[in-house]
């Protein structure tokens, strides 16, 4: 039964993890942060990641096309890569009204993107369901 900090510390145990945060994408507020901040500052990183998450969550083009009613948000996660790292943004589905996601920053040399994506999904579920 993890709280926010326990959840982020668990994310930091993934191979190659450099930093993790729980961010609200409407306000851009980091509700929790651990490890290194991407770009040198947790607050700025949270605000920038929130902008990206909001765009992904709101555009119709990224929603599923199977005809069923879309969840809120319709997107599950976002994966972004650069020369030396990966960023995985996992939306947290809650039974209450919220707009939060887990942001994991992984070193590309040690990180396992597939594993991180699966684990982050499980953590997002446990965070709010216990």
């Amino acid at each position: 039964m993890p709280g926010i900090d326990e959840c982020l510390l668990e994310a930091m145990r993934l191979p190659g993890a450099r930093g993790a945060a729980l961010v609200d994408w409407t306000s851009g507020l980091a509700l929790g942060t651990v490890g290194e901040p991407p770009g040198g500052d947790h607050e700025t990183a949270a605000a920038e990641a929130a902008e990206l998450a909001r765009l992904a969550a709101e555009q119709r083009a990224f929603a599923p096309d199977d005809g069923e009613e879309a969840a809120d948000p319709p997107v599950e996660d976002l994966i972004l890569s650069n020369r030396d790292s990966y960023h995985v943004l996992r939306f947290v589905r809650t039974s209450f009204d919220s707009s939060v996601f887990l942001h994991l920053w992984l070193a590309r040399a040690d990180g396992n993107l597939a594993l991180a994506r699966i684990r982050l999904g499980e953590m997002a579920g446990r965070l709010v369901l216990g």
Partner: protein, 281 residues
């Protein structure tokens, strides 16, 4: 022969946007209470902050839905379970422990909702006020300390939120007035979370009413409302002008005004919006 120079046009009035951030904190009293690690409750015009040893443990505002509304609006917790925990909370048992120990709520869900409600209510509690705040030493909140937050973090976030709203749409009128929809020829697409807000705009409800109905933090609702205002889909309802005054004035001139020009008030509102939008560029 004297040269006649033209007078330069007066400078347009521009609000001093930096004034708020330059003065540092939003409440000198709160900064002092944090420094002396005070425990108690700070009552301000638009809300209250509960402090434990100089850290914010809870915040409430009549303008923001409480933790109970956020947890019960979508059935995360049923209203009876909440009431039960509130009733049983006493000196030795805080309500947060009762909710968690009963297995009714995951710790992450409680923390998430609590932090969200805390920053939300603090945004309104720390709004500029006309009356001085009061601090009552020793008072604690029955909920307990779910996740204490430093005062500096709450003040900093409040200022950041103010500038975020200002960047989206600089006119604060839509934050508190009853909202109405604006008919537009080519309405832009509205994101699902905003359309939930738009669907409740009916000329009577304010942003705070809509937040309570959706069980959504009020600041999040303000963000949606300002974005809808920026898109030209929603506007604060202008109070009806006394029709008699306008028509009597026009009757004196003997000129019949066309329908669209009957009242002057909406034009002033429009000019104000244009000025604000230009300032924001």
């Amino acid at each position: 022969m004297t040269m006649v120079g033209t007078t330069p046009p007066p400078r347009l009035p521009v609000r001093n946007k930096a004034a708020g951030s330059r003065s540092g904190g939003v409440s000198p009293m709160l900064t002092r209470l944090a420094a002396e690690r005070a425990t108690g409750v700070l009552v301000r015009e638009c809300g209250t902050l509960y402090l434990t040893e100089g850290r914010v443990v809870h915040a409430e505002s009549p303008l923001a839905p409480g933790l109970d509304v956020i947890l019960t609006a979508h059935g995360t917790l049923d209203a009876r379970a909440w009431q039960d925990a509130v009733d049983r909370a006493d000196q030795r048992h805080d309500a947060d422990r009762l909710l968690l120990d009963g297995g009714r709520l995951a710790p992450g869900a409680l923390e998430l909702c609590h932090l969200s409600a805390l920053y939300d209510a603090a945004y309104f509690a720390l709004a500029p006020s006309r009356t001085p705040g009061h601090f009552h030493y020793g008072t604690t909140h029955w909920l307990g300390s779910v996740h204490p937050v430093p005062v500096a973090a709450v003040e900093h976030e409040t200022l950041r939120r103010r500038s975020l709203l200002h960047r989206i749409w600089p006119d604060p009128a839509s934050d508190s007035a009853p909202l109405e929809r604006v008919d537009t020829a080519a309405a832009p697409a509205v994101a699902p979370r905003q359309s939930a807000v738009l669907g409740r705009v009916d000329g009577i409800r304010t942003a705070a009413d809509i937040a309570r109905e959706l069980g959504r933090p009020a600041f999040h609702t303000l963000v949606a409302v300002r974005r809808l205002a920026a898109a030209g889909l929603v506007a604060p309802r202008t109070p009806p002008t006394p029709a008699g005054a306008a028509s009597a004035d026009r009757a004196g001139t003997g000129i019949a005004a066309p329908d669209g020009l009957r009242t002057a008030a909406p034009d002033i509102a429009l000019l104000k919006r244009v000025r604000d939008a230009l300032e924001a560029l």
